[in-house]
């Protein structure tokens, strides 16, 4: 897989970036992918932000995993985000492991992987790095920024930090800060990794291994939180995995166990354990009201961006209430905001699966924003 990493698109960010942890960095890679064509008037660019375990390969086939891109349900020719019409950009976040600067990369000072020597990064650091990609691609103002979960957080952060660089934004299933429950679940994932003896204080790459057991458990925690109670019950119930009765063992008797094991252990093939530590930390640290000392209203004051916040009724990780709190803050600051709750039993994962009502709403908003953005540009 690492040989293939050399062939992906990478921008070397040469300008100095001051990270939130006060360290400065320059000359680091940002891996990205684009779909569709940027039109002459440059009014059709959409920046997609990926979630915790996502990457830059939004659509088509991921060239590294050979599987479909993580948002093929929404992005592609004739899809909700139609790549015949729009120019879609997505970058691997810094801290990630698909070619962007992250704990797996080689530290030039030591000639070894950073491991825990990688600085603790934030959602704002991720977004600042991605803004330089827009300069490189020659896009002054995007039509839209969007993403679900951590991608939604990045969308909110992008608008707060760069209020003039996008015409519209669709933060999906996210919040302006992590709840205690969110942090607790992330901590569970981190503890699973750090409790694996192979992890070795983050130095496992020196031995060319991965703490697979810990990483798999971390992924299983995530998968439980992405489904709704009802969805999980309907999908698995108490069904047994290819057997007529209990084995009276600790093998995967139940289908739900088998599902989690499969999800957990297939994940370790494509992800770096330290990246999970760093990215979950960034999510936990994310707090827009803390950043803008006066609170959320300050974070969004003077916004010209047109927002659409979308939540899912059965999402218990980022609830409708939390999404509505973002709407209330945007409203209080006088921003132009729409809000829709999609009724579904598919839980937090709803934005990734084929959920027609969600996809129709996404398409309806983006298409109408494109018309408005073109009009604005003409004037």
């Amino acid at each position: 897989m690492d040989d293939n990493l050399k062939n992906i698109k990478k921008l070397n960010i040469s300008k100095t970036l001051l990270l939130d942890c006060k360290q400065t960095v320059k000359d680091f890679p940002l891996a990205y992918e684009t779909y569709g064509e940027l039109n002459k008037s440059k009014d059709n660019a959409i920046l997609v932000f990926h979630a915790l375990t996502g990457d830059q390969f939004v659509a088509e086939i991921n060239p590294l995993t050979k599987k479909e891109g993580w948002w093929v349900t929404a992005v592609g020719p004739d899809k909700a985000i139609d790549t015949n019409k729009y120019f879609v950009i997505c970058a691997n976040v810094i801290g990630g492991c698909m070619g962007s600067w992250g704990p797996k990369e080689i530290d030039k000072k030591t000639n070894e992987s950073y491991g825990l020597n990688f600085p603790v990064i934030t959602i704002r650091d991720m977004v600042r790095a991605q803004e330089t990609l827009l300069d490189y691609l020659g896009i002054e103002k995007l039509l839209c920024v969007t993403g679900g979960s951590m991608g939604g957080m990045q969308s909110l952060q992008f608008c707060a930090t760069f209020p003039n660089r996008t015409f519209s934004a669709i933060p999906i299933a996210c919040s302006t800060s992590h709840s205690a429950q969110n942090i607790a679940l992330n901590e569970l994932a981190r503890q699973a990794i750090m409790a694996d003896p192979v992890w070795d204080k983050g130095k496992y790459l020196k031995k060319n291994v991965q703490p697979k057991n810990g990483l798999a458990v971390a992924r299983m925690v995530g998968h439980i939180s992405y489904l709704s109670e009802q969805g999980m019950q309907e999908k698995f119930g108490r069904k047994l995995q290819e057997k007529a009765d209990f084995e009276f063992s600790f093998n995967a008797d139940f289908q739900v166990e088998s599902y989690l094991r499969h999800q957990g252990y297939s994940f370790v093939e494509r992800f770096d354990a330290n990246s999970i530590l760093y990215i979950t930390r960034a999510m936990d640290y994310f707090d827009l009201s803390k950043q803008f000392k006066g609170g959320l209203v300050e974070a969004f004051s003077g916004q010209k961006t047109k927002f659409l916040i979308i939540s899912f009724s059965s999402d218990w990780l980022y609830t409708t209430k939390e999404n509505k709190d973002t709407v209330i803050a945007l409203n209080a600051s006088g921003a132009d905001v729409s809000f829709a709750e999609i009724k579904t039993d598919k839980g937090h994962d709803s934005f990734l699966v084929n959920e027609p009502e969600f996809l129709k709403t996404l398409k309806g908003f983006i298409d109408s924003m494109h018309i408005k953005f073109k009009n604005e540009k003409r004037i």
């Binding site: 409203n331 908003f365 924003m369």
Partner: protein, 197 residues
């Protein structure tokens, strides 16, 4: 009722900020943007209507005016519009207070229960009226607090809510309602439109 929207649009100056509470499919917002270059925002309970608004590029928040008006800051809109919904709230008095807090002015329209056809239905037939503006039967009507133009007029006086203008609508005809002609207009208007605050 298209005439109603026309009357509301005529009451509004150009280039103001308007919150349309219970905006439905956004027809009124469309009209206000088109004719008055108004910055319009909507609040709507019905999911399907919310989506129609979003597809049209209108700004709309899915939510219940009965419980969610608190999210709008005080005096954040020039006008708040509430079209034929006041009577459907559990607590219309509290909603009206909130509308007057959010908007510098408030426009409210109500189906008039004092309209003569409504009165005769009850008087001569002994049945709850079913008309064009009151299309539901007693058992499935969303209208919990039906009132007449006279009721709302007196309510505003009692609560010290400033009445700027009241317009009675009957089909295509409109007329201004004042204290002097309140009795007769209350009998012959299907709809009352109040400009308050």
């Amino acid at each position: 009722m298209k005439k109603e929207f026309k009357v509301i649009a005529d009451l509004l100056p150009k280039n103001v900020r308007v919150l349309d509470v219970g905006c439905g499919d956004g027809s009124l917002m469309d009209l206000l943007i088109e004719e008055k270059n108004i910055e319009a925002r909507g609040l709507e309970l019905v999911e399907e209507n919310v989506k129609i608004c979003i597809y049209k590029g209108l700004s709309v928040i899915e939510g219940d005016a009965e419980t969610e008006l608190h999210q709008f800051p005080s005096q954040s809109f020039d006008f708040v519009v509430l079209s034929q919904t006041l009577q459907a709230f559990y607590n219309p008095e509290r909603v009206l207070k909130d509308l007057l807090r959010i908007g510098k002015s408030v426009i409210i329209s109500i189906p008039n229960f004092g309209y003569w056809k409504v009165r005769t239905s009850l008087l001569f037939f002994g049945k709850m009226p079913v008309t064009k503006t009151l299309p539901n039967a007693w058992y499935n009507t969303p209208n919990l607090h039906m009132c007449t133009i006279k009721d709302l007029f007196h309510f505003c006086l009692e609560k010290n809510i400033k009445i700027n203008k009241v317009i009675g609508v009957n089909e295509e005809k409109t007329s201004e309602i004042k204290k002097g002609n309140l009795e007769i207009k209350n009998l012959f208007s299907k709809l009352g439109i109040f400009l308050l605050g």
